[in-house]
């Protein structure tokens, strides 16, 4: 296993939304097999980072670089990023009336297979695969015949994201507050699904407010993002520390750091 190979390398990333700078020099490296968590207070730029990785247009990158398996991500269209193995589990999955969930999943899977020059799955093979994955996630098969996310409960929406994750089997899964809106039982199922999917060479970047998700998916690294910068990186115990002391303590840490920088 090549543990030194970088899967994702973010260097000095600056990004704006409507000319307001949200990210102010992010440095982050994720190697194959690693689980990273990004925590931080509201408005610190966590979701912005997740969305930039997926190619959302409203975030404008002004400086820095993002490399995924030594390829420049910033010049890739969203679908190309997905085809190469970057997957964003949305904080707010989009409802798409009239588009059948199975049809959508099959189209996504086959778009990916096509890009890898693999044969497309036919309806029978697809359904077989989907049924296995649904069972693993304790999900009802009827979800395949509904319109994508339409009328889904909060828990169903998040589970549907994880269903897509395990079906598409990406290299890097970015989980944008996947724990929000889930009750404890659903959270356990979702976490078990992610853990079952995650093999040695698959990586995870979790964006979360709370320690809760980290109880079920153990991170190798925790980064604290405040005002667009990673101010602290630590092991899994950092989350417990944050839970006790809050981000306030780190706020002042960062202010000191900025102060020192200016001098």
């Amino acid at each position: 296993m090549n543990q030194n190979r970088e899967m994702l390398a973010i260097k000095n990333l600056h990004a704006c939304i409507n000319e307001k700078e949200i990210l102010k020099g992010i440095e982050l490296t994720i190697r194959p097999g690693e689980i990273h968590a990004i925590m931080g207070p509201n408005g610190s730029g966590k979701s912005t980072l997740a969305n930039i990785l997926a190619g959302r247009e409203y975030c404008q990158v002004t400086q820095g670089s993002i490399m995924f398996e030594n390829q420049n991500v910033l010049t890739m269209a969203p679908e190309e990023r997905a085809q190469r193995g970057i997957f964003l589990a949305f904080q707010y999955p989009v409802e798409i009336p009239g588009v059948n969930n199975a049809y959508f999943l099959k189209a996504a899977l086959n778009a990916q297979r096509q890009s890898l020059h693999e044969a497309e799955l036919d309806a029978v093979d697809f359904l077989e695969l989907a049924k296995i994955k649904l069972k693993e996630l304790h999900m009802d098969e009827s979800i395949l015949q509904r319109s994508v996310n339409e009328g889904f409960s909060g828990g169903e929406k998040k589970k549907n994201e994880i269903l897509q994750l395990v079906m598409l089997n990406p290299k890097l899964a970015i989980l944008d507050e996947t724990d929000s809106g889930l009750d404890i039982d659903a959270l356990k199922i979702v976490a078990a699904g992610i853990n079952a999917w995650k093999k040695a060479d698959r990586s995870v970047l979790m964006v979360t407010h709370y320690q809760r998700l980290l109880d079920y998916i153990t991170p190798d690294y925790i980064h604290v993002l405040i005002q667009g910068k990673i101010v602290k990186t630590g092991g899994k115990n950092l989350a417990l520390e944050l839970e006790q002391k809050g981000y306030g303590n780190l706020d002042s840490l960062q202010l000191t750091a900025m102060h020192e920088q200016r001098q």
Binding site: A54, A77, E79, F87, V94, E95, G98, V99, A108, A111
Partner: protein, 445 residues
Amino acid sequence: MIPRETQPLISNAELEKILISFESEDPSWFHQIRQIAREELKNNGFPDFKTEQGSYTPWDKVLLPLKFSGRPIERFSANTDLLSSLDWNQIESVIGQWPYRIVMLNGQYSIQHSILPSGLEIESIRSVLKNSLNIPIQSMFSKLNLKELGPVLNLACFKDGFYLHFKSNQCLDYPLVMLHIATQAQDYFSCSHNVIVMDEYSSGTILEYFISGNEDQSSLNSEMTQIYLRPQSQLAHAAAYLNGIHKNQWSFQTVEQQSGSSFSSRIFILGGAWTRHEQVIALKQPQASCGLEGLWMTQDHQQAENYTFIDHQAPNCTSREKFKGIANHDSVGVFDGCILVRENSMKTDASQENKNILLSSNAQIYSKPQLKIYADDVKCSHGSATGQLDAEALFYLQSRGIHPEAAQQMLIDGFSREIVDAIPWPEFKTSIWNRVNQFYKGNSK
């Protein structure tokens, strides 16, 4: 009033020529009605700037084929070469195979191509008009409102069409397919007029397909159908406009509903240069109900127009309306729907919904919902929304590896599904789905 253009689209001399070319031997009672229509046409000319209903239409293009109406189109029924050159395999690959069909060739009823169910009374409208014993047909024509250009032009010019009569309790086992084929190597104008009468407790389905090639000549077909639904009768009607890119089609439908009758209509405009479908529905007696649905898609310089007028004249009637449209490139879509609830029409239950999507910044959509309510104790609702495809949904699909063009098509299919999936006839549904799926393929600008 908008001032008349100094140079009329069709001069009086040209109009005279047109009318002469459509001269036919009418029985005297009908001759009088024809004359009223012709006078109206002469007095008001083209186009009908006077009515608001004409304001979105490119009349110069639409009416151009009228100038060629001096050319004889009768030769079609005599031209056996052309008839035998019709490729039925190809036609059936578009519309599917059906046991019964009425074929209209360039606006003329073609007996030799039609396969009729036994027991159903069907005749050429010309012979029905000549039968002076048929009193109801006289009153049907004399009550027509000859104020709008659509029916006026049709009545002034039509030579043929069909008369279809469902007798009491008669129920058709399969849909009756009406196939309108336009095939001509030169510009032309054709005009037909049909009457459908459904007696008490009869029921039937009529599926219309309008098909033509993409040949370079433009044409205009005016088709008017009067429908009479007697008590407790049921008619399900659907029309698929799948015309070629130079065809202008103007359909005008009047429906009179008596007590407990039901009328359902599904209009699909998925082709043609300009297609206008007008429906005037009169709910004349209690417990009558109608449901109108429609889906149109346009691109390039196409134009699709849906006009509906639902007249609630009696209490306890129900009407439902749902029209959806998508316009791409420089195309234009129109929805103009009016619901009139008259003074004594208590317990009316009416709803209207119109949703449209613009795929390009040059496309235009005009949506004009109107409710005119003069009765108390009624339930009426309407909604109209026009916008772009949901950018969030597009991004969501792309973020799963789906190409933007495929993502757009998925959203278009999703938008259309509500109307298409509700089609109860599998073959008809398949032909509509095929058309919807292919409509914008290889045509992104």
